[in-house]
Every structure is written in structure tokens, then in C-alpha cells.
Symmetry: C2
Subunit: 432 residues, 2 copies
């Protein structure tokens, strides 16, 4: 590796390092890889690009990890000027333009920070201990195991069924809504016929949101619609209610008449995210939730060679911070790449402008809400739109087909194709 | 559950308990479920039926767990007289006809033992510590992680590539051959284009077999053919060589000129299986590798109400023990079910006769060996036959399609669809 970098330097090609193979990072790499005057290194601690918008379907046993996780290498194998490293960045020396990996260093001319976000607990570490987040495949499989095992346990001990089937989801954003909806789908339809000693549709699913609306960033009409449809699916939607304490299998809340504590067999936390800590001690300006405050060029005034994009960055547009969604990351990724190329080619750079394509979220089987530009879609039409958009953005032809078939199949059969309780792998299994 | 069993008793239906949802157990349940005069309980510690013949493709990142693991419940949801329990059998009281589970007991009138086999190390526990077996999804994902991570590590540290890419497979049966072949496929073709700092085809793959032939149970011609084709794929096939000691990343052997020790970054052990220990202290007659010696009725002279089928049983036919393959298990499963029904209906029972349908194993892309009845197939024809048979036997329509697509896709693109290094799940993740 050192060798090849050295080589790059004597050929004096500019070296661009991108940290993170998410939506933003991939867009940047794709654009940069076309410039033969550049060497590009993409670093990610995972070997795959994850299509996060469908993570909840892995958690609810509809899709398999491989359906939404594409080996990053397979996307870049034809880009000869792109090197991919599966490695963890331990620190960044921005003064000397050096990335420190676990056991070597890499120098850069340009750096794109695209390492994304992780579940955020507002510093409440016990929340982390007693709840499940949903940001990566491990989280998703953990939730899947937990849900499926709960139903199995209940079948073995119907006398405890009520206690075993109490699922609480905290956070009424898209992830929370989609999780609640598809857990309801699972218990009301998919597995109901298969149990003899319990009625799975009796599962108690609660969705707790601190604000007055689900999908707060959506048009109010859609928020109201979503609430009604979830309730129709036996999800108890609890709004205007703050979580004030979490204990093992217990959630304490404030806001509802007469209730201040809920029992739970599974607590899923989707109420917060924060940028990965990676960047905290770089000296770059940090905003809310550890996100890096970038200027209108997705960069930094005193470090124009560094860009931050996607969930790790805080980009304000007219006082409003851009949301942590894939569309923002992808547009920022393409922008950062263009900015670098422009600078090298001596073109003057223009500030980044976000083009809002809209929002969407599924509620359940053939039911979703979507707002695109002016108009809104709900129900089956919303669901078709959602399906189309997600298939369209899913990377890899094979994944598209296999996901489409899986969806059609589970649509016809009311089945979830990936109901595998996977035996745990131990840390050791990832070591050489 | 207790309740429902009690109910079964007052209705005085006979209660058949089957332990193990493998090939044998499933066949038995299907047949028994048609008899309304029976109540059937199927117990397995996993929630899924595993299509073991394709496990090596999960290990080599071609297929996903869900492609070969079907939720047992989903296969039985229409059979109202079948109850499925995901639970572990701790002991069996054959005197009182009681199955002891982790925290309850179940009584039976008839018992079918179909719990299968696990990797066997001939009592060498250190072999277990330093090698990977391949009997369940956990094993497969562990091997997958290990192989993929080795290549990633090598890309980061090309100077150590040689050391990092030494794979040794011990045992030249179908599993060993298929693993060696598809690891070669992976390194020679699938991922080769994607690495910049190493040549993955330089990976050192050794297949060690104690006897004089690979696929010893096959026709000799096919064994010889298999050896040649594996060697053509850069697999070093080492015959007539016994493993005498295993240390971390080291295999000591006896039999080859001048070599008595091999380095390895990954050691896969496919050289032995043994029946699950479950039955040892039941007092039933135990044969080689803990397998239960059954009579010609797949049963026991002094316990005709107990049947043992598949890998857990040792059935001798003219002094020859039937092999531990799915065909044997499935035929024994159907037989045991029929025997129970015959007895209840007062028909006299006939001894079990095995109908040998033949053998097959893949060597690599469009190359396999198959012997069916009289005739033999090799190369592309063998591969087509293999593909057809395995798709045909794969349970679940959706799995068939998704596997077929995955195969066709990876066949066209030389790609492996499931190259996901999965983050480890911890023991905790399976607990309620």
C-alpha cells in the first residue's frame, strides 16, 4: 500500500481519500474515478455498501443482508484508479494531511469525510444498554432474532405470551414508523397461521414520539394519515410523550394521562442519531450531534481541501439544517467530487445547492406515504411509488431482481422470506 | 402447551413426537400430518429447516442463509394437527415416554429421533478449537467472514498476502471437494479483478484426504476426474495423508515425502461427523460415531415405539452402513411415519429397504460429477444435473427462484452475490 501511494506521488497524481462507502461516498468515488489525473482511495470499516433505507426489512425478516449490502469492491472493480481499503480510521492529522489507520498511514491531497452517523442517545449510555438501535446489519439481525425468538418463546410458554410480546419503538420518524408497520404486518398476517398456542396478532406494539406528529418532516396531512393507518394495524401511537428513563424491559414516559411506565420485551430506539466520533478531535468545527459544520462548499474555510458530506456534516441552508437522508448525501457527494475536479482544472467553484426531491415512508403492505415536489401520494399509489423509487436506487441489478421477487413473493403469500434466527457469531469470527 | 397435550390425551389421539426438522424429520411430519387420528409435535432447537447440501455456497458467499434455511413453521402452517416447538431437548426418559425440554416435559406415544449429526473430531478437542466445521449456518458464516476478511487483510498488507491466504481443507468427501472448488472459484475468478495490491488467484488452497481417493463413496473414475479438475483450478490435492496434529494455523501430517507440516490462515475440518450426543444416555444401543444402532425397522427391538432416522441412526444393510446423506434420511423418515400408521391401523410392518438414487458433487463453475443408477455424468452435463436435482429438492418455491436467479446471475457475471462480512452477533442477541 505505502509503495503504491509512493508511486502515486512520483507520478504526481493528486490523491483523494474518501472515508465512508455510504450513499455520499459512493457518489463521490464514481465521479472522481472518471478523472485519470486522480488516484482515489475509498476507506470503509465494512466490506459492503449498505442500502440503509431497507434496513428495517432485514430487521423484520423480509429481506436478507445480502439483498441490501453490496460488496463495495464489486462496484469499483473496473475503476483502475480506485483503491478500496477495508480498515478503520483511528485518527486524522489534518495539519500534515495524513489518515491514520489501525496499522499504517495514508497521505492525501484532498479528503472527503463521509463516515455517516450512528445511533445517538443524547449521552444517556444506559439507553444504549437496554435498547436496540437500527443503523447497521448487526442491529437489524439482532432485532430480527429478538422478535422471532420472542414469538417462539411465547409458543412454548403461552402463559407468558402477553409479557413476551410487548414491543416498544421510540421515535416516530421514518425508521420508527416503518419498523412499527412491518412488525404489525408480521404479527397480524405473516406468521399468524403458523402458531398453535398463541394468537400472534395480540402482540402489543407501541410507537412513542415526543413531538405532536409522526414523520415530523413530512406534510402534516401525511403525518395524520400515517397515525390513523398504523392504529388500524393495532399499533398504539403515543404522541407528545417524552421518554424520561429506560430500565431493562421498562420505559418511563411523561406526557400521557395516568400512564408513566411501560413494560417491554423489546425496546427499539430510533429517536436520535449522531455523527461518528471520528472527527471530534480534528479541530474542525463541530455542530449539533457531533456533525461537522461545513460552509456553503461542503468544506471548511481554513481547510478547503477537506469536504464533509452526508450525515457526518451539518449543512445549513437559510438557517435550516439539511436532513440526514440519502438524497442529501448523494447530492453532496457528487458536489464534492465536482468541486475537487473544478479546483484541479482551475475552474471557479460554485456553492452547493440542495434539490429536495421529497420524502416517503411505508406504513405496511401496499400502504405508504410520499410527497414529491408539490403533490402527495398515500395508500397503494404511495406504496407503488415507494417501491419504484427504492428499487431504482438500489445498487446492483441482481439485488434489484432478487428484492423485487422477494417483495412480490411475500406480497402474494403474505410471507417473510428471511425468517431465519441466525446463530450468533462471536467477535473471534472476524479476526484473522 | 401442557394444556394442549392434556387435551390431546383426553381426545385420546396418539401423540407422535419428532426431534429434528432436517430432511428425515420433515418427511416424517409431512406423512404423519395427513392422519387426523394423530397429534404430531416437531421439536427443533432452530426455527428453520436447513438445506445442508448447499451450505458450502453460503460459506463461499454465493448464497444467503435465507436461501437455504426455510422457517419450519411456514412449511407446516396448514397442518393443524402439527405443533412446532423451537426448544432444546435436554434428555429423554424412554421408560416413561417423556421428552424433557429446558423447562417443561412432553409425553409421547411414538418417538422419531431425527436430530442429525454434528462435526466429529474423533475426540480431539483441540482440533475443534483450531479448525472450522461446516454443519450449520453459523459455521458457514464464520467461514465466509474468515475467507473474505483474509483477502481484505491481504489487500491492506500485501507483504503478508502469502501468509494470509493459505486455506487448508481436511477431508476429501463431497463437502471438502465442494468447498475447495468454490474457494478456488472465488479467488481465481469472482474477486480477482477487484483487488489492486494482491493477485487473489495466488491463494494457496490445499485439500487433504487420508484415503487414496477423493469422494471415496463415488465410482473411482469420478474420483480421479475430480482430482484432476480441482488441480486444474489450483487446488493442491493431497491424498493418502493423515492429519496427526493440529495447532493454531498449523496442520501436521504423515504420508507425503519431505513434508510433515503445513501453515494455514484458515483450517476447515470436514473429515468427520458424529451423531448429536442427545441419545447417549438413553440406554439405546450406540454404534460408531454415537449413531444409534437400529434394527431393520429403523427402530429398536425392546422399544418398537422409538424410531431413529438419518444421520443419528446407524442402519446396516448386508453389513454395509447406509451413508449420512439426505436421500437416506428422507426415505427413512417416510418409512418411520408409514410404520407408525401401519401399526395404529393394525397392518403388519415391512422392513426398511433403501433405494440408492446415486451421488453428486460440484467441482466448480459448470463442472460437477454425478452417478445415477448405472450411468455417470461429468463436466457441464454433471453440473446441469446437479443444478436440476438441487433446485428440485430445495424446499419452497421462492427459494427455488431466488437461488436459480442467484446462480444464473453469478454464472453470467462471475459474481458471488452474498459477499457480506457480517458483524458478529453476540450470545446475548438470542436471549429474550
Amino acid at each position: 500500500m505505502q509503495a503504491s501511494i509512493f508511486e502515486k506521488n512520483i507520478l504526481n497524481k493528486k490523491h483523494v481519500v474518501i472515508i465512508g462507502a455510504g450513499f455520499g461516498g459512493l457518489q463521490a468515488v464514481k465521479k472522481l474515478s472518471k478523472e485519470k489525473c486522480l488516484n482515489v482511495t475509498l476507506i470503509d470499516k465494512k466490506n459492503h455498501h449498505l442500502f440503509q433505507p431497507l434496513l428495517y426489512q432485514v430487521a423484520t425478516a423480509v429481506l436478507s443482508p445480502a439483498d441490501i449490502a453490496i460488496p463495495t469492491r464489486s462496484l469499483m472493480h473496473r475503476k483502475k484508479n480506485v483503491t478500496i481499503l477495508m480498515d478503520e480510521v483511528t485518527s486524522i492529522d489534518i495539519k500534515n494531511k495524513i489518515i491514520v489507520l489501525e496499522d499504517k498511514e495514508i497521505s492525501y491531497d484532498y479528503l472527503i469525510l463521509a463516515a455517516g452517523a450512528r445511533t445517538g442517545y443524547f449521552g444517556k449510555t444506559d439507553y444504549m444498554k437496554y435498547t436496540y438501535g437500527l443503523k447497521n446489519l448487526q442491529d437489524a439481525l439482532r432485532i430480527r432474532n429478538k422478535i422471532l425468538t420472542s414469538f417462539e418463546e411465547a409458543e412454548n410458554h403461552p402463559e407468558n405470551a402477553e409479557k413476551l410480546l410487548k414491543f416498544i419503538i421510540i421515535g416516530g420518524g421514518p425508521t420508527g414508523v416503518e419498523l412499527a408497520g412491518s412488525i404489525a404486518e408480521l404479527s397480524n398476517h405473516i406468521i399468524r397461521e403458523e402458531f398453535r398456542n398463541i394468537d400472534t396478532s395480540k402482540a402489543d406494539i407501541k410507537l412513542i414520539e415526543a413531538s405532536s406528529d409522526l414523520l415530523a418532516t413530512f406534510n402534516r396531512e401525511l403525518s395524520v394519515y400515517t397515525k390513523l393507518r398504523l392504529e388500524k394495524r393495532n399499533v398504539r401511537v403515543i404522541l407528545n410523550t417524552r421518554v424520561i428513563k429506560i430500565e431493562p424491559n421498562k420505559v418511563f414516559v411523561k406526557g400521557i394521562e395516568g400512564e408513566n411506565e411501560f413494560e417491554a420485551s423489546l425496546i427499539i430506539w430510533t429517536a436520535g442519531v449522531e455523527a461518528v466520533p471520528l472527527t471530534i478531535d480534528t479541530g474542525l468545527p463541530v455542530g449539533r450531534n457531533n456533525r461537522l459544520k461545513v460552509n456553503r462548499y461542503c468544506s471548511f474555510d481554513n481547510h478547503p481541501e477537506i469536504f464533509a458530506i452526508g450525515d457526518i456534516a451539518e449543512f445549513s441552508e437559510g438557517g435550516k439544517i439539511l436532513p440526514g437522508v440519502s438524497a442529501v448525501a448523494m447530492q453532496e457527494g457528487r458536489y464534492a467530487a465536482r468541486a475537487i475536479i473544478d479546483e484541479i482544472k482551475g475552474r471557479e467553484k460554485k456553492p452547493f445547492i440542495y434539490f429536495d426531491k421529497g420524502n416517503m415512508a411505508t406504513i405496511g403492505r401496499k400502504d405508504a406515504v410520499a410527497e414529491l415536489g408539490g403533490f402527495k401520494l398515500t395508500g397503494f399509489m404511495g406504496w407503488l411509488m415507494w417501491l419504484f423509487v427504492h428499487l431504482f436506487y438500489q445498487v446492483g441489478f441482481k439485488n434489484k431482481i432478487s428484492i423485487l421477487i422477494t417483495w412480490i413473493w411475500s406480497y402474494i403469500t403474505f410471507g417473510a422470506a428471511a425468517r431465519v434466527i441466525q446463530e450468533p457469531l462471536t467477535e473471534k469470527d472476524l479476526k484473522i
